[in-house]
Subunit: 248 residues, 8 copies
């Protein structure tokens, strides 16, 4: 489109139907996105197997329904994070293949089951209470076309559970490590592997855990230099970055 | 003394040299400590092999000198924490046997070398920069009559260094675990032993370590239930509690 | 088992049915816990009179039921912390001897009533509102085989209530001191006894108590050097450490 | 002056030299302070034995000199808080009777030695390191005409030192209690007396004392209901309020 | 009683019915409060017109009922702070003269209507939403025998409302200033009067008021040196201190 | 009135019915607001097209009703912020022209539809969840007589949406930029325009957004020097300042 | 330039020396700023009397010298904030008319003395210690072509100093109010005027002022709705916004 | 070695020189690292072109010298972060090819100049003051064998500088975005590219930047889902993770 718009201006100008001043003005005022900027490329690349994502929390059943109806026309997977059973009911009316992942609080509509990631992404979590966040990461990874392995309840005060699976850890191309309370797991896992580790602090804990602050600070200060951190409870964000790495 | 004071009052009263009212008044106004309260017992028990302790920081060379002169009359060990070379020079003039522990920033005067602890206290630290705090604990433990083992530079991102010494860890009766940055070490050590672990956060780190806050919060939220915590950089306090446990 | 696995490899190798290379590989890949590492010892020692513990909060009645069914086969005591009346009803169906400690929000199943602790653990609390946390400590101590004494409502603004019981304080081998608001009680108690004091800040208070933060900071900065601290409201953790000390 | 201004307007108006409108306008535009508002009264009452006060910190020797020269014309006491030896040298050239209180970091020029307070103000401090703040309070109290008693180094972990002097505590009409670290002393003192206690947190401590934050929060959450709090290290402010109470 | 106990021991000893050793032991073990310590005096002075106070929040209707039943035997006023309509209903069954102060969330039983305070205590509040805290102060002041004046809704962005009443402000012997949001009112009022000002931050506000933290910090940093501060929403505590000052 | 009062005093004095001393005293004690001070002028200017504003939250339906009844007698617009459907129902009974703006949680009664602002105020918001705050700003701006443009859902991770409308941005005389999460939008918008930008952080976000704290800090540290900030979620306040600027 | 570049492409294309494809490609790849986007306009408007500004702190004397040399070719005023005497010496070698404003820590080179602002900007500060920040605002305002009035040392605890100058306050078109400690001044000033007030918290204070945090929070929670806030100590930023408003 | 140790045990056992029990015991007690655990693999992979790294800060010139002497025997690159000119002088004596990167505060010894990364890593920074952190990342990336592009001083308030280079941004395989103050740059860059963005907050800023806290929170709350975060000022850590991604 943009190209055509520019060509049209150039041609009108060449043909004399447009003065230099007018051509100049029209070129200057072209809508930004029409110029083929990075965002367009960005969108294009994101669409290669990436789902269209809705943040379900705070949206009404109707709002979610309308958005899904519009998305359902394309062939991409659809992901609704922080969703509810009620939202799921509405989505299923639109897309019969929709699934509700209760643990992950997520709804998915899978249309494209191709694997885009080159290797396996492993999701490790410290305690059973961290599982909703870990599951959100797993569901997101799957809907983005990754092969996923997961390892739950391997907190650092029982190291043997973790060390016992060191081969599975070593086989991953990227790891997402989810932990609340003292948030020590990413440092320990980071020391056992030679690939990027994405740490997700959770709001699990009580007292001086301050809703995930303790775990977050712990992870930011990790002595393992292959660890980066995302926001508290942000299993989705960790999975997006892991997917990007896994496609490279 | 107190006993004698009370006996004296009782006797004077019995002998008639003291009216009931006067005896009553004098008994009520006896100095508190003379009544044999817990503090006295406390002091007594503390003196059994416990050093007399001076917090050196903020005190002048003269002040430290005067206090040591007064303490030197007794047979107890003397410990000056957060001390300096200048304070040490002054102390050596008073007590020739004084030693300066540069790493620990401590001065000791050893007079009583008896071992009071029943087992070994182990001091574990995460990084080389945590060593001043770990050394303060070690010096305090020694001067309080404990058998001490120490293990430095065993951060959680290199687990093999720690696991390799698991037998030494298991041999300790109490452990002091010193760590800055993410403060994850006490949780890991806590899971490897079945005795009390005293965690000491250090102010080592940068950025979001907030001068030890990250390590402190991490330790308070430890998933290992045999961990208690002392103040940031408080190697001395950890050693006092470890000594108390080791004597029981 | 592990021993048998290793012996089997050694024998097959000796008998010639296993090449050196294969024996090497199999030895290297043995599951970690099978090697008889510290964790096993740790578990063994923990089992000597320690209950099997479930964190009830956030678990469904069914989940708690399933875990208790599995635990009930062993002879250890069972403890469910942060539990509910509904969870208790389910547990009673499995173990008729189950008891609900409403104040402590805990369920216990007592099978082993042996006393493992060498002395008495005393639980002291500042205000009546701190009692749930204190009671959690008391129940945990009992189920772990300790002789327990308790002293409630002895806040520092009414010292006589505390000083009046100094003999009971002095008789304890370890003390747990529970306080919200300004959290001053552990420092005062610490000065009256010569044994370890485990301080538990509670979330009791309002305004600038910041859900226990004020009490926590106060305790970490205690001028009594025999005080260590656990997380806010963590009566259970304090009792575990006190039990470990009391068995030494 | 103000009175004269108003009288003059009234008289000019009466005499006919000033129309009603003009008199009105001039009365409305008189400088505020000339109207004899509360502030004036406030100043007046403050001057009854209250010193003129300079905050020395951040002021040059010359600036302090100029202010003292101007103040020295009146008969009031002069107080320079957070002062230095250099500032003192300059002040002594102006007022030979000036004194430097090194511990309190204060300079005083005493001209009015009358006692204005009705009773004794007692200053209690927890540790020797809290003394500069306590001394600032003492110097301020003296220069404001109070009878002062002081009691240092009576931290809550050694209660007998405090209880021993309960009669002196009970004799005070107001108390200022200065403490760093865990800041527990005001609560304990508050429970021993029946008069107002002004708590001053100090920045003394390390680690999780956060420059006085721990002590401040502790004092704000005091379980003793006769305690109010001033800013960290604000010995001067506490003394001003104590003086106001002591004059009532 | 205590006196009698001591006299009895003295007499038995004198009479020979008690050996010196036994007399000594019994004297040492007398209950602390029996020795006539400060706390007794404290209690005595507190009782002179001070109500017996119950913190209603978190207490059941029955608990409040039982406490009131026990208190009702004495002639002191009774005050229940943070109370509820349900608690009031129960109290009225016990004490027909009970009143419920809905704004203040307080129940009072007035038996002693004598005025103990020497002057008037003024309660000033910034906004209408701060009124519950201000009202708690007013009710407490009244039940403690003070003459009370109050001035509501005089926030600092509308100074004329405040300045207009400067005579009433100047007439008070102590002031309690209640403010949420930016907490500026105590500084302004402090500058208008020459008596102690007790500042009460409230949790009123939103966003960066952080539940009263902004107001609290503002008040602690007041540039008026006659201001002291109590905990957020602590109208009761402010009234206790004001009463103590007002009786001097 | 005031004028009359002063005139009366002047005249009585002139007429001799009032001594100079009495005239002086009466002039000094005139109620403050009667002197025609700035506040009056302030009120006057505020009334020029500014609505009378009620903060609805925490007020009962009756309270809001009574205030609106009293306001409805004047010709000014009425604005109720943080209002509810129930409050609206009551207001409509009083003022039939009342409107409820659900998104903005606001009720308006428009009587004066004149445009007072000289240009357009633009309201820009980052995400759809920030809309209630943005809408509060829009409603306030309209009721204060501004021409308003708005641009929603132009977060900084999709710059083209923003750059595309740069002409509309450039046309505004003042901008209000509303953003939660990382709060980056005001800096970006600030760099695109040459007029004042008022930044409104919102409490939208989760985890380390700390209820708007992250956005607030981000905005205060803006690298664009034409940005000032109001409290979290304070769309109303931003609109008041924007209106003041737009009238100049 | 840009225009010429585009015209040149258009003409070459029209003349046939450039194919449509080549013209298209060249138009698409033109440097962004050449397209006449908002930033250019922004820069243009900023240049109308706005100085070129250097943040001096952290820059070497040479770096500042080189930047000033380059700027000195234009006719705009030059402003160096957070500058030093050493930087000033270097600047004077380049621009003889340079001035050093010691209080404001700023260097100015005035070339354009035209007044661009429509009215007066008033700078009000609470204490003498806040003056460096206030002076930075004043210098910035002057160099940006504003008429400036200033009023220092009018803290809220001495209201008469402020009220006395209410006419000068009322005469300003915008106000900048600078305050440390409790930061109450902007609320008070905001209530006295009917124009925008820009509040600047300063890092002045001690203890719980937390380097300006207390003042910042206070200002964000202002009950005066015409107040917006900039970063702590940001006198420069406040002056930029005030200048923008003053030119409208 | 390990292999040989195990083989030796196996052979001794096979040969009969070692009983089954002894072989078992020796196998169980082999040093942990000798068993070929993940850490070894980890080290191996890290060595493939990864430098040996020393944290220079806090180390003496001698300590750094000794470590470099030991490292210099291998063929790996050497990197000293947070280093000094004095440390560099010592290193140059050992390794003549050493270079000092003043901006980055780093010393490198390059021996292996092979490129290991598959694409380009781009380092983007917001302001000139953020450059030391950005340079640390660049030096680390180079010494780890990456092709590096960098783009400095492209803060979000001047978007054209950034948008102008969008093609270079789009060409990167991973991006490191360094920003202080409001930390908004990673969100903006994240929206322009489709690859992982590692955000590094810096401690640059003043006032409410709280030494990088504002930037850190901003980045953790990024609305761009391809952003992860490392510790404040941790340019080194960001480069390690970027290198790991770039090799995949």
């Amino acid at each position: 489109m943009t190209e055509e718009q520019i060509r049209k201006i150039l041609e009108e100008h060449k043909a004399g139907g447009l003065s230099s001043d007018d051509a100049l003005r029209r070129l200057q005022s072209l809508p930004f996105e029409d110029l083929g900027f990075a965002n367009i490329d960005h969108h294009r690349s994101l669409r290669q197997g990436f789902p269209e994502v809705i943040f379900g929390q705070g949206k009404t059943v109707e709002q979610v329904g309308r958005i899904v109806e519009s998305m359902h026309k394309h062939d991409h997977n659809i992901l609704i994070t922080r969703s509810s059973a009620a939202q799921f009911e509405r989505v299923k009316q639109i897309a019969a293949e929709a699934e509700f992942h209760e643990g992950a609080r997520a709804v998915t509509v899978l249309k494209d089951q191709k694997t885009y990631g080159k290797g396996t992404v492993m999701v490790v979590s410290a305690g059973t209470s961290d599982m909703p966040v870990a599951e959100e990461a797993v569901v997101t990874l799957r809907v983005m076309g990754n092969s996923v392995d997961s390892l739950y309840d391997v907190g650092v005060s029982g190291l043997h559970r973790l060390l016992d699976r060191r081969e599975r850890l070593a086989a991953a191309r990227v790891l997402i490590v989810v932990a609340g309370m003292e948030g020590a797991l990413p440092s320990v896992v980071g020391g056992l592997v030679a690939v990027p580790v994405i740490a997700v602090p959770t709001s699990i804990g009580y007292g001086a855990s301050f809703n995930g602050m303790a775990a977050l600070l712990s992870m930011l200060n990790s002595c393992a230099s292959n660890v980066t951190v995302v926001n508290i409870d942000n299993g989705y964000g960790a999975a997006v970055v892991a997917s990007l790495i896994n496609r490279q």
